[in-house]
Amino acid sequence: MKNPFEAFQQTDGRKREIPLDKILKFKEETLSKILKGYEDLLKNEAKDLVWLMQYSTVIKAYSIAEKKIEGIEYTAEDIEEFCYALDRSDQIPYLITGPAGVYISTLCNYAKEEEITLHLRDLNVKINLLGYRLPPNKKLIVEGNVGDFTGIGLDGGELIIEGSGKNYTGAGMKRGKIIIRHNLGFNTGHGMTGGEIIVGGRIKGLGKIVGGKIFEREHLIFPNEGVKPFYF
């Protein structure tokens, strides 16, 4: 008698590993390493969930971040992935935009790519301190709006923000270029000694500027007859 269930015998359905599996696995591993580094940074720098934005704390956070990312192999896409992970509470225990910005800047500064594009338009948080100490021969393009202290201490790199920034953009920058497509807040270029800030929209207010150039809608507004360099 013919077996009526013959057709239902186990098929030779194979489940092979494809390169996509490896790519995703590597991506997950890299992200978890980056997240671990960030958590360690927070443990060191923001034990009480408070982080005071001071010259010394930024420098200290940066040096810790440098150590934490040592040995991690990552790409610009991994940095972007980390930025979105910051937005999701299930992956990050808590978000403090200051250390997060220092950490992302460190990742960008040490990335293999010379040009990094971060597509952050859908990010809910506005990250501070992006582009901190961006070195020469590095170009960081951020699609979306950013927070305070963007591009501070810029050290020769080119930072392009395809959106708006907030206060203290380019504060203390030494050289390099910051291009902002839309608007900036108060104290723009506070304490900057060199370099250029080019703003496509409006600037709410300038800080005490020592040197460099600031353009607003293609007009040089510093140095200008009305705005003289400040000597600390």
């Binding site: 359905g13 489940k15 092979r16 494809i18 790519i23 995703l24 896409e77």
Partner: protein, 522 residues
């Protein structure tokens, strides 16, 4: 070998490979050279022209097997159902903002998911098929992506940055499809825009080689179910509305109307109405029936003297002193009419809904009042009762809808969804009129209780014996006053709605509690 014969030969193998999907034997159509497959309500149609064109470069059986693998996997894995299709479209639309672009992005994403699934899980000839397909525009990028994520040579290459980004998307993680399609769409957005621009300029559409995904792929039942699930899943009314408006023409072409699934031309689709209809369908409001039996048969009404020729069966022995004698013996005079019996019935319902300025406009945001009323409406209609609607804001100035008892769901929903804004005052004469139209209907009132003539309403409710379900939104002094004013009445029950989730839960539960004692009245 003829293409039909190849299909006959290959189909059992494909079915077995995909664990015997319930799909009919694929058919052959002359079709286009550029499009391999069409899917209409689960029926796969393979283009003979496509097959003829490709058969010189690839084995005929392999062409058919690959195309069938692709088609069946759409049915078995992605999109699986219309709800998933809508969700993917909705997410893509958030990125590109244009219907045509969102449709293209959705089609490509579903193809990538489907083919990647097949390549990973099944023994398929899909890579060979792609190797022989033309690679232009977005297909060139996708082909490079396949090379990278499948690890095969398709004779493509390039687009490194895009492919890098695309290859990091977890295509086979169903839970992440919403997020994934957004990333996918962002990466290919500019190519799609360019493609669309060219199409508009040349008035010629460049088709997807493995077929388009449209409403044709689904039956009316699937569309109905998909819309219901989609209404429950979307974040807000506007998302639902936007998606339905985009698909309005296709839905109407398919014969889908707001009132239900396609019979006749139907009314034009009102996305707002459809949203509340589908959302309310997700919840069930159980109704305990009352022991009222509307029986049309005869029942003993009064006595009359027995006369010769009248039936003995009607004699009332208790009032006849045990004698059969004209003049002394009494018989029951029977009358036809409504009587209480053992069978239970569901009363009709009057829905009173507040649409004053303090209430949410149901056409702008999700209105809990409308959703609650819609749930109540469904519950009564399902029990074959009729529903009347009294929608009011400043009723004394004419801002009201008085809809008499009926069973026309669409008409009832239209009355419920109407928004007036402005002041809040009831005209009790209207309510009395509606109550007089049906014998002892239930009353379902949903309001924030900020009614100018609230005292009159309380007084009115204290006078009637109808079962009243009073639902108030938010908490204020007026609702407290209403509760205090009607506290002693056993036929009035009171619910507070704080958020969306409270509507089905609280109304469902409390109705039961409230209905239980009322059953004793009968």
């Amino acid at each position: 070998m003829e293409i039909e014969e190849i299909i006959q030969k290959i189909w059992p193998k494909v079915r077995k490979k995909h664990l015997f999907p319930q799909i009919p034997l694929p058919k052959v159509i002359e079709g286009e050279e550029k499009v391999a497959l069409e899917i209409k309500s689960k029926q796969l149609f393979i283009s003979n022209s496509f097959h003829e064109k490709l058969k010189d470069t690839m084995k005929e059986e392999e062409i058919i097997e690959a195309v069938l693998d692709h088609g069946v996997t759409h049915y078995m894995y992605c999109p699986w159902d219309f709800h998933t299709h809508l969700t993917l479209y909705n997410e893509a639309k958030k990125v590109v903002r244009k219907k045509e672009l969102a449709q293209k992005a959705t089609t490509h994403f579903m193809d990538v998911v489907t083919d990647t699934y097949c390549v990973k899980e099944k023994d398929t000839k899909i890579p060979t098929l792609y190797k022989n397909l033309p690679k232009t525009g977005v297909h060139e990028v996708l082909s490079s992506l396949y090379e990278k994520i499948w690890g095969v040579d398709l004779g493509s290459g390039g687009h490194d940055e895009r492919v890098n980004r695309l290859s990091r998307i977890p295509y086979l993680k169903r839970k992440k499809w919403g997020e994934s399609i957004k990333k996918f769409t962002k990466v290919i957005q500019d190519i799609l825009e360019e493609e669309l621009k060219n199409e508009q300029e040349n008035s010629q559409r460049s088709p997807n080689p493995l077929g388009e995904h449209s409403l044709d792929n689904y039956s009316l039942e699937e569309i109905d179910r998909g819309l219901r699930d989609f209404a429950s899943a979307v974040q807000n009314l506007q998302e639902f509305k936007e998606t339905v408006e985009d698909l309005k023409e296709e839905l109407e072409e398919k014969g889908y109307a707001t009132g239900g699934m396609g019979r006749g031309p139907g009314n034009p689709i009102d996305a707002n109405l459809l949203y509340y209809m589908k959302l309310a369908e997700s919840y069930t409001l159980p109704l305990r029936k009352l022991p009222i039996e509307k029986r049309g048969d005869l029942h003993p009404h009064s006595h009359m003297p027995w006369e010769i020729g009248k039936p003995f069966a009607d004699i009332d022995v208790w009032t006849s002193f045990g004698k059969i004698m004209p003049g002394i013996t009494k018989i029951w005079k029977k009358r036809e009419g409504e009587t209480y019996g053992e069978l239970e019935g569901t009363p009709n319902c009057l829905i009173i809904i507040d649409s004053s300025g303090s209430m949410i406009n149901p056409r702008e945001r999700l209105s809990y009042a409308v959703l609650g009323a819609a749930c109540a409406c469904n519950a009564y209609l399902k029990n074959e009762s009729t529903v009347a609607v009294y929608n009011f804001s400043d009723a004394l100035r004419g801002n009201k809808i008085v809809l008499d008892f009926n069973q026309e769901k669409e008409q009832i929903y239209q009355a419920i969804c109407r928004y007036f804004g402005g002041g809040t005052a009831l005209d009790l004469n209207d309510i009395q009129f509606l109550l007089s139209q049906a014998g002892g209907p239930d009353i379902f009132i949903i309001t924030d209780m900020q009614i100018t003539n609230l005292e009159k309403l309380i007084e009115f409710f204290n006078q009637i014996e109808n079962r009243v379900t009073a639902v108030h939104l938010g908490h204020n002094v007026h609702s407290t006053r209403f509760k205090e004013g009607t506290d002693k009445k056993r036929n009035i029950s009171f619910f507070n709605i704080k958020n969306k989730e409270d509507i089905p839960k609280i109304v469902l539960g409390k109705i039961k509690e409230y209905l239980a004692p009322t059953a004793e009245w009968g």
